[in-house]
Point group: none
DNA sequence: GATGAATGAGTATTCATTCAT
DNA sequence: GATGAATGAATACTCATTCAT
């Protein structure tokens, strides 16, 4: 931390998008940022391939770095998983914004859900992060809750157009997205499109039919609750 | 040798429901069977409470037995999980048979799905067994595939009555059931009924509306494939 | 022990040869003796096949008995190994007595050594008992020391005839016999006669040549020492 | 990166005798190498004292290190045993080369055998590695087979001089060396020189007398066979 | 900053031995 | 007496995390 803060060399893309975020707001030094990316990329590969059982040593090695370096960049394994997830969430956010421009609100929503589902279905590591209550959960919960508000616009338009059940909340969309992942997990690599069956059912279920549709039971989760629900659960290890 | 072999009152199906099955066909000694049950019960509690992170030592202790005894009855942790799961599957099977008697086919199907969902949603251990590709998976996969055919009757009636999408297969029902569990996991103990929202959506999605319904994409998984899909997935430990 | 002592039904072969020896002098009941033999036979097979790593459960199972029964007959695993060894020693003793009748003393001695070597070389379990300081050592040492005196006659004749180094003691013969087993172990099943090379060298070394032969260094081990040397060594487990 | 790669004074043979060899060719960091040596030394002591029953935890403790460190350096217990053995083999090799310079070929051979025997006889751990088919065997077998060719020179000279039985092969020498260890084991710490009696016999047996000597039966083991013979033997654990 | 060595609590599993049935 | 169920200390090995180089 005795390092002089680097300057202006952060180009136009800046610390934006994938974001460095070293805790305080300061952007990372260029090489540090490069390592961060390498680690993230390696983690994605390694986790996708072997699940979260993979060691941080494995990740480090795949990144061509020492473990120590990984730990300098991410306080612990969960933080890495979390970062991985956030990166993806960012992508989904952009996707949501883009689909919000679709002419037909329902098409926009459906398109978002499908694209988002596919994105996750194709990455086993992410799928596991989403589904298993083991790793990086707190962070995942946070990330998940961050997605919610970004989707609100998409949701509102569809709701207003009368094509979507009126009481579907952002948290329900998140839940839907994650539910599709079980199907993806079941399909595995042997049936990589299997999730689409469940997806179709869900999509139909979300749509409001002319004859009207019953209210969903209970209340949706608030952004808060979405984050808390899981974040607080302390599992011994694993 | 002063122990007379199983008495005449043991019907053709043997000692009922959960069954002993020590490898060969012989039923377990009475005390052994009692302990087997104790272990299963303890495991249910412990896993439900702390997830599969819990040690077999913990389970043994909770059962008031030594670890060795657990290992005598179940070759390893996965086997225990599997047994737990099978027990539950048996319950679901019976549930399915019972619901098949409902006057309205759709009510029967919906009733089964709801009851089954609730059963699983209330047990964190089972939920994990269902969702995470880590523990006792091969066996769980088998158990899962065993459920499929038992549900077929229920399914057929609903299909015939025109209330169900015509191309919903048993494997889709299993997938549905498992998908609901993600919602349960998200809701956690703080929102124990949260899964009902997704459940409602799914149920609506499964129903065939007067205006007809589009075919589900791709093909359902055969019983074979359902079992294989997971059984073959080799995760290094975890 | 509240059992009435069985009588006369011990036939002409009696408790002789392989000997029952239940601690006190009383011969075993007929069925007990039968079990004892079964166990011994099973142990021989099992150990020969898988080494001493084999479980007592395995032995019991192979004998068609429960472990408890094995423990009723032998206080612990080492005792079983010991008994196995003693049985064999008995055989060797008889062999020694028989060879003592050979016309040529040297031939008698050599014949004994060869036959004895072969006997042991063919049984992996015994070989291990002899060579590894792990199992049943105390007992093996005792057994070993018991062999020594039985061989003395054979030895004396050869010595007197001037064909044997004059200072070869019984303990040296035992050592020789055991040394051959390393060669057998090295040869393994792939080269089952490999031990004969070492055997030939040893035999030549034991013979006294016309030109005389140097004294062996140090003193031979007494029967006592032979037994003690190893018997006292306490190895933690294994 | 502030650690300059190995300096110029590292001769072509690298950091001397026992060598680091961390898998790839890179030499170990200085501290790592120091600990490696510590482990080896501790293992020698501990094994010599208590046999292979000793735990790696024990070894680690004796070395003043954590178990993890031992496992970082040696994949498992057998690997450690193997390394220990190799180290010793290296010593024997050097010994052989040195004795090859002796004026009288027979003296050279005998000197080597005696020194080698003593070296092993004094170390219970090594003795066990040599004799019991349990631990680190594959590696030990390899090490053993590596010794064979190094001894060939010594052997040839003795053979040429007519003092050695003409058909003694390197594998026979290895066998001899190991056979002596049984005697050492029998003598134990109470009779530390007991092995010399068997040694004397063997040496005499190896010598070719004026009156000629019979051929050894069968064929010696090739280097290949020597290694294979043991390496292939699969013992279930122990 | 980067590296990789060190750490050691934590886990699944085995098996000799005891004891209730 | 026979059986096999119960026991739990013991052991090898892993991996997240820290820290000296």
């Amino acid at each position: 931390m005795s390092e002089p803060p680097p300057r202006a060399d952060a180009g136009p893309a800046g610390p934006a998008t994938t974001g460095p975020a070293p805790g305080d707001g300061r952007p990372l030094r260029r090489d540090a940022e490069r390592n961060r990316r390498r680690i993230l990329a390696a983690a994605r590969d390694v986790f996708a391939d072997r699940g979260f059982a993979a060691t941080l040593d494995d990740v480090a090695h795949a990144a061509g770095l020492g473990v120590g370096t990984v730990y300098r960049r991410f306080p612990d394994k969960d933080a890495l998983v979390e970062a991985l997830f956030e990166e993806r969430i960012t992508g989904l956010t952009e996707l949501a914004e883009q689909q919000a421009l679709a002419e037909d609100p329902w098409t926009g929503l459906a398109g978002f859900l499908e694209a988002a589902s596919k994105l996750m279905a194709d990455d086993r590591g992410l799928r596991q992060a989403v589904m298993s209550p083991h790793h990086g959960r707190a962070g995942v919960a946070v990330a998940r809750s961050q997605l919610a508000p970004r989707v609100e616009g998409l949701l509102q338009r569809a709701r207003d157009s009368g094509q979507l059940r009126p009481d579907v909340a952002a948290s329900d969309l998140v839940t839907t997205l994650e539910a599709v992942q079980v199907a993806a997990e079941i399909g595995g690599t042997a049936h990589p499109e299997h999730w689409r069956r469940l997806f179709a059912v869900l999509l139909d279920g979300l749509r409001c039919r002319p004859e009207g549709c019953a209210a969903l039971p209970g209340a949706p989760l608030s952004e808060q609750e979405l984050a808390e629900a899981m974040g607080l659960r302390k599992t011994r290890r694993h």
